[in-house]
Amino acid sequence: MKPILTIDQLSIVHRVSEQRLLNQVTLSLQPGEVLGLVGASGSGKSLLAQGIFHLLPTNLYRTGEIYYNKRPITTHDRGTNLVYIPQSVEALDPLMKVGKQIVEVIREMNPEQKMLELLQRLGLQKEMASKYPFQLSGGEARRVLVAIAFATQAEVVIADEPTPGLDEATKREVITLFQELQQSGKTILFITHDFDVGLQLADRIAVMNQGEIVEVADQTSFSGDGDQLQHPYTKKLWQALPQNDFTGSS
């Protein structure tokens, strides 16, 4: 199969210090797959998401290329072929009603109608449309962000750390939401520091450390003592999970 999104030797460099925050990252996503990108905070995961959209802070620049269906992506791909699900509620405009923010990215006839359908599909009340972001609970905010992803009809979803600071119940809810996204045929790059969540969702896992991808492994490789894993860092991560500490010690 042809990969739908290819990240080819992407580096992100600080303009002044020339420090490489992301070094030669190469990844490709097959249509319909979920690729989990895990790594500790500060490993450069979020920068990768911003780098894909070419929306880096002005003091950083990128080298390398991103391809969508074998052609380099442009700004036109934003919101049409690629969609971004950010970290938190803060990524919603605090002064704009939720419904309007969803409508804004819909590029079809009857956006209002479509928006209400989406709310219903994601189990949100119709009244949600006229609320402001600060009135939403954590779970509701995630649903709205996912609604935006559905609204764009983009094939590829880049989700940047969608689960931090959530309680277990809400976290499970978010996982279900992403499974729904996947079932509707979307390709997902799921960036998280939560190894556990990554494993529950992803078909393949890419492990990132200090700005580099150290290993890409199938989800099935993460079993037992981690014998199928190649890189020592990946093994360490795997063995540090609570359930494995159990098997390791017994």
Binding site: G79, P94, V105, I148
Partner: protein, 326 residues
Amino acid sequence: MKEFVIKRTIRLFTLLFAVSFLTFMLVYLSPIDPVRAYIGADMLLISPEQREAIQSYWGLNQSMFLQYKQWLTNLLSGDFGTSLIYRTPVFDVISDRFFSSILLIAIAWVSSGIFGMVFGTLAAMNEGKWLDRFIKGYCYVLLSTPGFWLGLLLLMVFSVWLGIFPTGLSAPIGITGSEVTFMDRLYHAILPAMTLSVVGVSNVCLHTRQKLVDVLRQPHILQARANGLFGMRLFIRHGLRHVMIPAVSVHFASFGELFGGAILAEQVFSYPGLAQAVVDAGLQGDVPLFLAIVVMSAVFVFVGNWLADMLYYLLDPRLRRGEKPS
């Protein structure tokens, strides 16, 4: 919401009361002799008995608190006393000049607000580029410019050299008040208003710029851009709205500065407004007129601040729907 409005309104009145009392007390304690101010050069001609008669006529021999009470009750019933230098009721002196001053201040307020926000926006959208540097430089230089000196320069250039604008008075000489048209007043107000606006722009502009720069770095902008919004649409929908609230509110809160600027501008251009009356009153010891204008200017500033607060409340859904501002 209701609680907030009531609290603010109560504060407005307590502060106004305090201002009026303190001002009255200061003036009472000052070495200014109102009798001398009233009589003027003929002071030497009056006898101590006559002097006493005048004092008791004005109620000047009563205690300070009684005088204050009297003054305040008169003030509240619309009686501002009689101006000593104009020899007419203070109310007439003020109302005559009120329109001139308001016209001047309104033109300056609106134009500096519009230009300030436009320039600030342009600067923020081009952050770090030459346009931004130019606008920022302009604002900083203006912040260091004595407003009245700028007025002098404009007066020299436009009135003396080019002769486009008149050098003073809010109406042509030799025309009675009733014949003065609005256009006449406007024509005479242009130069002083221009002075005020040119100086007033910098504050709003720098504020708008800073706010917009901050807003453009927020996560919701990143989200909106990543999901396909760009250009003016992104800017107007997700940037401008955030900037408008603080910028408009800062601009309302600048009423006080504007009033101070107006005093200077009116003096430079011999524009007979409210502010110029305070200079005359202050220099010549016209206590009733002086007190009235000080209190009026305080009302002016208070109303500006109060409007700023209210506006914030009305425009920001987070406040309106009952959450603390972030």
